[in-house]
Symmetry: C2
Subunit: 389 residues, 2 copies
């Protein structure tokens, strides 16, 4: 599927969000699903585009496990592009000429929002494992507080891939009055035991690292080897058998050293690189808390999802990718089916891709077409005709 973008659009705005800066908003207390109260809470967020006079052109983007508030544009300090930069900007899927886009770092994260590496006011030291258990519902509660702060009553759409898709679902289920539509990409309403198992391997690798010290490693050496192993497992599950074959095959590393257990194959070098660079940018305790939140998540809260959605009046776009074996298409089909059973106007699309789970970040052409069309339709208040997609 190719996307035609008019030259005038490209020339007019260069398809760039430009420089961005992460801002923060702090509020006093957040009551968590567990009953515990977290205080204070800071939310890191970015916005792109302009809020219209009706304050009804807001799209909330929700990031995946290792993402952050910086979804688009170039970070003012580092120049780094946002994690969904290919999808957010003038003329892009999330068109900043039409929509006011908000993205915030999740509760429990380590990119500006309060998480286990934040200072616990009770001790003046980082929380570590004193940080309370958090849930996908709590992440959404924090986002809702940010929307209150921005004086946004209702979202045109909540969109996200992977864990971001869980948050989009959670908005539907927990705050049906505040969301007009949800875009759930490459996600699940609840984790399968296989998904839990892969996460548990990562957690065990982190907790096996002697530098982890029951979570009290701040100010000392990081549990980097454990976190790197966790990330390596993750990266295997984000790719597909075929995309690994295409990218690496069985090629040896050029700078392979004649020692037995270093990285001999390119794929090993890639995993080492991804694992090690992750250690520099992510907090191991956040990894523990966020993966547990994903594993515990059940959009239906033990009921069939369709029941949990029965009071919802919203539109839904559910997207899966054929080669995604971490979040297999059947899980997206279950979401779409539940939406339809609950009477929601839901569209399910299965995109042909070889990229595996990473496709939600890489298959931007087809995603752009689907999302632009869906948002246009939602903002115009008309139903999506599936034949048009």
């Amino acid at each position: 599927m190719s996307i035609v973008v008019s030259n005038s659009t490209i020339q007019r705005n260069g398809r760039l969000v430009g420089e961005t800066e992460t801002r923060t908003f702090t509020f006093e207390t957040l009551r968590l699903e567990s009953g515990e109260v977290l205080s204070p809470v800071t939310i890191a967020y970015e916005t792109y585009g302009s809020l219209n006079a009706g304050r009804n052109n807001v799209v909330l983007l929700c990031h995946a496990l290792s993402g952050d508030a910086h979804a688009a544009g170039q970070d003012r300090a580092t120049g780094a592009p946002g994690w969904w930069d290919s999808m957010v900007g003038p003329g892009k899927a999330f068109d900043t000429e039409k929509y006011f886009i908000v993205c915030s770092n999740v509760l429990g994260g380590c990119k500006g929002t309060t998480g286990p590496s934040s200072i616990d006011p009770a001790t003046s030291r980082p929380y570590g494992l004193d940080f309370p258990v958090i849930t996908i519902g709590d992440m959404v509660s924090a986002q809702a507080r940010l929307m209150d702060h921005l004086d946004i009553k209702r979202l045109l759409a909540v969109a996200g891939g992977s864990m971001g898709g869980m948050q989009a679902l959670e908005w539907l289920v927990s705050r049906p009055g505040r969301v007009q539509s949800a875009i759930a990409i490459a996600t699940a309403a609840r984790h399968s035991p296989q998904q839990i198992a892969f996460h548990e391997v990562g957690r065990q690798a982190i907790m096996a690292d002697p530098n982890w010290k029951e979570g009290n490693y701040y100010g000392g050496p990081l549990p980097g080897r454990g976190l790197a192993v966790a990330r390596m497992v993750g990266h295997i599950t984000y790719m597909s058998d075929l995309s690994m074959e295409v990218k690496f095959g069985r090629r040896f590393r050029e700078d392979r050293r004649p020692f037995k257990f270093t990285a001999d194959f390119e794929v090993e070098g890639y995993l080492h690189h991804r694992g090690n660079s992750f250690v520099e940018r992510f907090d191991a305790n956040s990894y523990l808390y966020i993966t547990k939140a994903m594993d515990f998540y059940d959009a239906g809260r033990g009921r069939p999802l369709a029941e949990a959605l029965s009071e919802v009046d919203a539109r839904a776009l559910v997207v899966a990718f054929k080669s995604d074996w971490l979040y297999p298409a059947y899980q997206s089909q279950e979401i779409a089916k539940s939406c339809k059973l609950a009477g929601l106007d839901a569209t399910y699309c299965e995109v042909d891709s070889t990229y595996g789970h990473d496709a939600f970040l890489l298959e931007t052409d087809e995603e752009t077409h689907l999302i632009r069309h869906f948002l246009d339709s939602v903002s115009q208040g008309r139903a999506v005709d599936e034949d048009e997609i």
Copy 2:
């Protein structure tokens, strides 16, 4: 598929191999593919059934990554059943009333055959990482020396699943004159980058364990947490998404403790148990050496497999399992196709199973039918009619 076994057979022999004992054979030197010489070499092995007068009823069983020589019967000392006990015995797939079955622990292993935990005569201490790199070819060379010792010139069949299937292929390629047939189950002629990647995660987990100490941990605390993580990754890849769903679902553990990062779900408890019990029975350095041997293995030695098989005059049975995503059916199809291209009489069977890679140990009914029929046919010297299977 159900297997009819006559009552008389069951009554006569009770379908039992009975008590078994692992024996050893030691020889002076083994030249490895790397050019290095290993000396001395001990091979641990078991045999079941009787060698016939023509010495031509020998079936060699090759075990997978974590297996050993104890394929069948009850170990005399511990009473433990063999790893393929359901397949080996009177009236079973590998019928001990017809065949003389041999199974030996692989070179590099830790169950009686020389490996990194063996004493290095040069230092009188365990080899650790001074153990030379070994290959699947070296494992087969050691097995060939055992056959010489047993005065067995030619094998009726070499059979194995997973890494055992690689050894079966290697017998075909490297010693075509000594093997009448090969049974390669749930295996690959060479690892894909995804298979290498999963192994590398396990190796990194082991080497990240501070008790590993560059392989010099013998006599001290074991790198148990790292090895357990490696085994946990392995177990996920041995099962299927569906078999995990059936076995665990999202059930919580009954003895779940109210602490954040212990095992909450049954699937987590299962992985912990499997990981921890593995530490008691397997050597971490053997895990490193054997997984590297698998990753490096290329039955074609860089050439297409069909070329490597061009001088081979043998029969082949290649079996894959539909839900096996670690050794996907396409890899078995490639083996079968290469055999046929090389003019071998090869049969390919894809067994419908939900067990994933573990199916080669669990789908014994269908395997029994396929293997018994194949071995009957090979021993009678006639071609297998695929329609009969």
